[in-house]
Amino acid sequence: MLSINELRASIEGKEILKGINLEVKPGEVHAIMGPNGSGKSTLASVLSGREDYEVTGGSVTFDGKDLLELAAEERAAEGIFLAFQYPVEIPGVTTINFLKTAVNEIRKYKGENPLDAAQFLKMVREKAKLVSMNDSLLKRALNEGFSGGEKKRNEIFQMAVLEPKLAILDETDSGLDIDALRIVAEGVNSLRSPDRSAIVVTHYQRLLDYIVPDFVHVLYKGRIVKSGPKELALELEEKGYDWIKAEVEEVG
């Protein structure tokens, strides 16, 4: 589904990603962990098409297409979704209106007819229930004045509505209490299917208790320096990153 090859990217002349290799097959969940500043958010941004980053090398294919050739909105229409680490507040645009525009723009891209108001509302109500998203939030300006938890929940709600093939969650768990965490995880799990995949960026093992990954990768200084089964997350939780840093320095 997603194949990342020797991906290099920089911002303002500073190289952040220094040759990433990652293969995500349909139905798989990959966790990416690593210390702050490793480049996790950069990877997520580059995959979703943020133009601030310059890709200086490597390739990314998604469902056989050259992902790096596509604009951000085209990637979304192809089925990539990024749950932002810091969701943006947009005054004057309601969540519901925003999502309706998004849904219908994606349908247009796929050559489908737009949903009418009734169909859209019905679908949205179901998804809102799934992530316990309060109706009143939907009518408010997008993320404006939302609490940290509400913003994260809104990300998962949008994901549930857009039903992406590949969801990239960038620290969606940070700042959430255990109940909110469970709701977020349920939202993600409800989307799990043999043809949908996810990349879950997190600092904490606890999210992975709920969203059980197939693989865990450690990103450090712009490279994936270690990969392993889900147990690797437990080991990182216990021992921290120093041993990995030491391993990397040794290899040099």
């Binding site: 951000a72 909105e73 979704f81 004057g92 849904v103 300006a141 857009l162």
Partner: protein, 438 residues
């Protein structure tokens, strides 16, 4: 100064002489004496140049470089106005074409106990004393265009809402410049008198037909008596060859409320002066503005909130989106006179400039002579929020659609202030259309 500028001025002065010579006895009326004083003032002042501080960023040289047919007759029919669509609404609708009142196109639905609505010309014929009591009582003597309008006042609207009357149906004035055949000019003069504890909503909508030049020099005087509530909107959707100078002069008495909404959608050159005297205690004045110049359009909004008495509030929000090589000017004056203690005055002007060749010039000007006041002002000029744009695109919304959504959102709080439904719906549609243009 170019020879053409002298030409238009000289021509206007000569026109005045001719008109006056044809007047017979009416020339001695108090009404005409005001006009005569105004033509002398115009003669002294001449058209403003950029050396005049108030006109520093708005050059009228091009406007006065050609000649115009003033108050030209027009055979315009309602059918010619199809594309000037404003959604239907039960309202008092008055049409003026090239400055002439068109009763056959107009309809007045409110009862005469509630409101006197008439053309200025008819109202003057019926009751010269009443009209003269208000005519040119609020205007600014130093403004050449206002003096010119006064000197040539021919027609416009006269509204008188008696004390305690609440007028449900809005009054919508449609000023059409029919420039299909030649350069045309009009100088509408409107007088709106709203009695004690009375309420009314008035909108002025300006449109142009045809490709020739139009020049509109409009003046509106609004008298807001104590406890009255007045909403006043001005919508300019004119042609690429339309020049518009408009002045609205407002006087508010105790505990009155006044709302102004000024929306400039299109026009080659637009200058709006909105001057509000808070001439009573416990009044509140609200000024909202929106402008969307593109191409080489020029939009200049000058506003004054003149706090003359204590305990009043003024509140102002102007927003603009500028494209291409357009230019915007905002000058907002707040005066707080020595007596006007406990004044609250707020002013904000926010702009999005979408092109490196477009420019916005903002100048807040506060002159405060009282000590116990709350005043704030702020202006911002920026680009579209890139973070917001990426967020929307990452959800599948195309760049253009995301831009227009963000721009619409930027204007939404001003649009929602327009409380005449048909005008607001019209603006919602036209603005959404305009913003989706690449």
């Amino acid at each position: 100064m170019s020879t053409e500028t002298i030409d238009l001025k000289t021509k206007l002065l000569a026109d005045f002489q001719v008109r006056e010579s044809l007047m017979n006895g009416e020339a001695s009326s108090a009404f005409h004496q005001k006009k005569r004083a105004a033509i002398h003032r115009f003669e002294e002042l001449g058209f403003p140049t950029v050396r005049n501080e108030e006109w520093k960023y708005s050059n009228v040289k091009e406007l006065i470089s050609e000649s115009y047919h003033f108050n030209a007759d027009s055979s315009l029919q309602l059918a010619d106005l199809q594309d000037l669509r404003i959604p239907e609404q039960v309202a008092n609708i008055l049409y003026f074409v090239n400055g002439q009142y068109k009763p056959e196109l107009s309809s007045i639905v409110s009862s005469t106990e509630k409101i006197i609505i008439d053309s200025l010309q008819n109202a003057y014929k019926q009751n010269p004393e009443l009209v003269n009591r208000y005519f040119n009582e609020l205007t600014d003597e130093s403004e050449a265009f206002t003096a010119l309008n006064t000197a040539f006042t021919l027609d416009g609207l006269f509204i008188h809402v008696p004390d305690n009357q609440v007028v449900e149906q809005p009054v919508i004035l449609r000023f059409i410049s029919d420039a299909r055949e030649e350069n045309v000019a009009s100088q509408p003069r409107n007088i709106i008198v709203v009695g004690k504890n009375a309420q009314v909503k008035v909108a002025e909508a300006f449109r142009t037909l045809g490709e020739q030049r139009s020049f509109t020099n409009a003046v509106t005087e609004i008298f807001v008596e104590r406890d009255a509530h007045v909403e006043y909107y001005k919508v300019q959707n004119e042609s690429e060859n339309a020049y518009h100078i408009g002045t609205t002069q407002v006087n508010m008495k105790d505990k009155s409320h006044f709302y102004a909404g000024t929306v400039t959608l299109n026009g080659k050159f637009t200058r709006n002066n909105l001057n509000i005297a808070l001439d009573g205690e416990y009044c509140d004045a609200h000024m909202y503005g929106l402008y969307f110049p593109d191409g080489s359009q020029h939009v200049d909004n000058h506003t004054i909130a003149d706090h003359r008495k204590p305990n009043s509030e003024s509140n102002e929000l102007y927003k603009g989106i500028l494209r291409d090589k357009s230019k915007g000017v905002f000058n907002g004056k707040i005066f707080v006179r020595e007596d006007a203690q406990k004044t609250n005055a707020f002013q904000s002007c926010k702009n999005i400039v979408l092109s490196t060749e477009a420019s916005m010039n903002t100048k807040p000007q506060l002159e405060i002579f009282a000590d116990d006041v709350k005043c704030s002002h702020g202006t911002t000029t920026g680009q579209i929020d890139e973070e917001a744009l990426f967020y929307m695109r990452s959800r599948g919304i195309s760049k253009n659609e995301a831009m227009s959504l963000l721009m619409y959102a930027f204007c939404a709080d001003v649009i929602s202030q327009i409380k005449i439904d048909s005008i607001r719906e019209y603006l919602e549609n036209v603005i959404a259309e305009k913003l989706s243009k690449k």
